[in-house]
Subunit: 327 residues, 2 copies
Amino acid sequence: MPVDMKKTQYIASVDAGGTKILSAIINSKNKIIARVKKPTPANDSPRAVINRIIECIEAAIIEAKITTEELAAIVVGIPGSLNPERGIVYLAPNLGWKNTKVTSQIKKYFGVPTFIENDANLGALGTHRFGVGKGFKNLLAIFVGTGIGGGLIFNNTLYRGKSFAAGEIGHIIIDPKGEKCGCGNYGCFEAVASRTAITREIKNAIKKDKRTVISKLTNNFGLIKSSILAEALRRNDKLTRKVLKSSAQTIGMVIGNLSNLLDLNAVVLAGGVIEAVGDFMLPIIKKSASEVALPQNFERLKILNSKLADDAALYGGIVIAKEAGVF
Amino acid sequence: MPVDMKKTQYIASVDAGGTKILSAIINSKNKIIARVKKPTPANDSPRAVINRIIECIEAAIIEAKITTEELAAIVVGIPGSLNPERGIVYLAPNLGWKNTKVTSQIKKYFGVPTFIENDANLGALGTHRFGVGKGFKNLLAIFVGTGIGGGLIFNNTLYRGKSFAAGEIGHIIIDPKGEKCGCGNYGCFEAVASRTAITREIKNAIKKDKRTVISKLTNNFGLIKSSILAEALRRNDKLTRKVLKSSAQTIGMVIGNLSNLLDLNAVVLAGGVIEAVGDFMLPIIKKSASEVALPQNFERLKILNSKLADDAALYGGIVIAKEAGVF
């Protein structure tokens, strides 16, 4: 291998979330060799968030003991709508971005090819190439956390749609008479089955004097942490079981529906809720999906919990850099 | 062009429906030059239906004044689940077929390459290459008739799924508390918005002594014909308007949902109900979809009524033959 080829053997892969920014350096063997995590600046300017991403990448470069010259690419995952070709984020409420040029600013700083991609798309790519989704031609990744996101792989390729906005599974209406969603509609999937919905159901039950160990585990009912839900499950809390069961049934119904539409090879479940209580939820999800899916569509459909946790989106960056031919 | 190439310049394209079998001969300029329609044998053996298809093709060959030797391929569209690679139909209730070998029997008779494909898939291909769906990279075709079927085009290619069972849009559950569907579940799209559902709602209203011109237009309430619905609309029948509006709103909601998931370029509506009363339904469908879809996903999404009627599936046969390299 010529010397100049050896120089660019790493990528920086970034997951820019609403609470933390996670940056990793990945080597040519697809291994994460360094990781840096910093809090996302809250209520600050769009530029402040970009600066924090840059800081995070710099810190990861130092941590990995490499130089910027050895970087083949930077890939940044963003929770929002964007145009990866134009390098612009249309809307990422959790980062305070609206029509924000992201790629050019990061590229200007490092002088390295820079790409942005929706974080759920990156997660789907990561799990498809490096996780439990490996080898499945048509795959849906569902991320259950504060909201619900999705990423689609058709014919082993990321499916983006006409405006790079495919995968918005959280805003499929599953019960027109259901709870109001942040998007303004009623009964969206994420308004019924996300951690936000789980929190709401538990709070409502507590208000009605239902007994639950959760009242002892936390005072913060703004958004009940997934770890609290896991602890309540361990303590066999009846209310928690009931609420999680209901969420799992809804997730299963959506999977059954989409299996009818898309005849998928696999559905991979990920995100904070699944990481914490996925083992409890998975059998319920599978049963519920089996009741909805047509036999031919359900046969050979794999429903799996991701094992990559936060790393899925980071690994997805590898695929983006490889597809662009720079890694 | 060598003489032996000129010999095979036609295909026979067949739409094998539950009530009629429609066979066409299509020339190398993609024009239908002959058409033959025969009733589907009811309650007869699987073989009787295959024989009727063969009769239909033979009659179309005669009608077109060509010979079997000039046929490059036969393509048969089937309302059911099947494996086009193995030439077997798993289940087509309206034809009385279950695990029926179709391709081999027709091929044996004519000695011509023979293909089977799901009829909704053929319809989607037909509208995508020769109809209003032309030029749209990612397209969903929805067929609203006795049931509701769908066909998906992603990246300009028919998407079949892992078991060739993609597109079963009629069995997406849209209201878990809704009417029972033929598949055994409750609130499937086709149980809520198809002609069967429209008929049920009108019958229920008549039972409750609601006034409607439909009571004068037909005595047959088994399944109210689309032409009767069209006539009732022309006479400004309040009940018909109400029921069709409700169906259109549901169709719009499903389109909005799937636009969020798939960020489609176009949705093409077809099938008996749309052919008859699509002009009335389309504006309601569009409005309802716009209320559900996220702005980025809805922007530039085209929702169109097909103009090809029954010919869509026939034209789809051209694409199958071309993809197989025989036409």
